[in-house]
Amino acid sequence: MRDPYEILGVARTASAEDLQKAYRKLAKKLHPDLNPGNAEAEEKFKEIAGAYDLLGDVEKRKRFDSGEIDAAGAERSRQGYYRDYASAEQEHPYADNSGFADFMESDDAFAELLRRSARAQANRRGHDLEFRLPIEFIESIAGANKRLTLPDGNTLDVTIPPGIVAGQVLRLRGKGAPGSGQGGSGDALIEIEIRPDRSFTRQGDDIYLELPVSLPEAVLGGRIKVQTPTGAVTMAVPKGSNTGTILRLKGKGAPNQAGGNGDQFVKLKVMLPKVPNPELEAFVSGWESGRAYNPREEVAS
């Protein structure tokens, strides 16, 4: 930062009154709110306000003069000048069009434009507000009722329709920012994000699931319990099923637009016992015909 005396344009010997006078003169010229169209004003105002914060305080000025502190960091920063809000598009209670009300009363094309603009301001529809809502995979298939907490502390109840896909946007009419006059509220636009699931994946309307089965279940077949997004069902595993065998649960997929449902496909994965089993080892070593089978026959060597 430059020398604060230089910024305010006063001598180092200036009295407190002279300093205040110099500051007020500059501040009146440069206050950002009094200079809505002047982009430079804010930078300059920050500088003079910072200089005055330092020199206007008798104690700080003494320490500055004796070299104890420097002018670094003295710039007064603040966020949000009035001008940033007053000319914004957003509706606010301080808007005043009386400065050109007489223009609007005449009969030419310019007056018509002004009238239209004033009408549009008086009856402006509220803005749409956008939100993101993460949901679980199961909720995306089965549907759910969620409550969204908004930044202002209000809540929004969102009904997730079954079968929703990631990136889909739900529009809640009238739940956005309030409008002015006859203009209604905007809408809330809620983009759905789906958290990946550890078991399920989705392709189109169909759902895929990899399901571990035991050796006896694979070899002998049986009825086993399978999770679907809408609850558990019992599924028949045919005798002689293998790793990679895909079984279909009809109608257990995501609802589609035609009014039906996709399917759930269950891919089996045969799992040996976690702990080596002596009985199984004894059986396999005595299982002569088992050796005749080469599972790598079709793999190019």
């Binding site: 007020r24 501040a27 206050h31 809505p36 306000a49 949000g80 069009n97 004033a118």
Partner: protein, 93 residues
């Protein structure tokens, strides 16, 4: 974003009595559509402007009212100018 009176007072550094006086003068117009009045960012920025006018510029109460009135007209015209520019039809019509 809407804040309540308590938060407004702490963020603007205003005292309660000053706030009431400023509202009576219509220097500040909080949202009173619900039972408890609420404030937004523009009210905070406006309160700071009023304090700058009073303390930095030495403007008295009568002066503050006049300045706010003129500023609001200035900003109203700027807004309309911007809308007209956006409409982009001022020359072609």
């Amino acid at each position: 974003m809407k804040i309540n009176k308590q938060e407004f007072l702490s963020r603007s550094g205003l005292g309660h009595e000053t706030l009431i006086a400023w509202i009576e003068e219509e220097w500040l117009i909080p949202d009173s559509s619900s039972a408890e009045m609420s404030f937004s960012d523009i009210d905070i920025a406006r309160a700071r402007l009023i304090r700058d006018l009073q303390s930095d510029f030495g403007v008295n109460d009568a002066g503050v009212g006049v300045i706010l009135k003129l500023l609001d007209q200035l900003y109203g015209m700027r807004r309309t100018m911007m809308e007209l520019r956006q409409a982009g039809r001022i020359i072609s019509e």
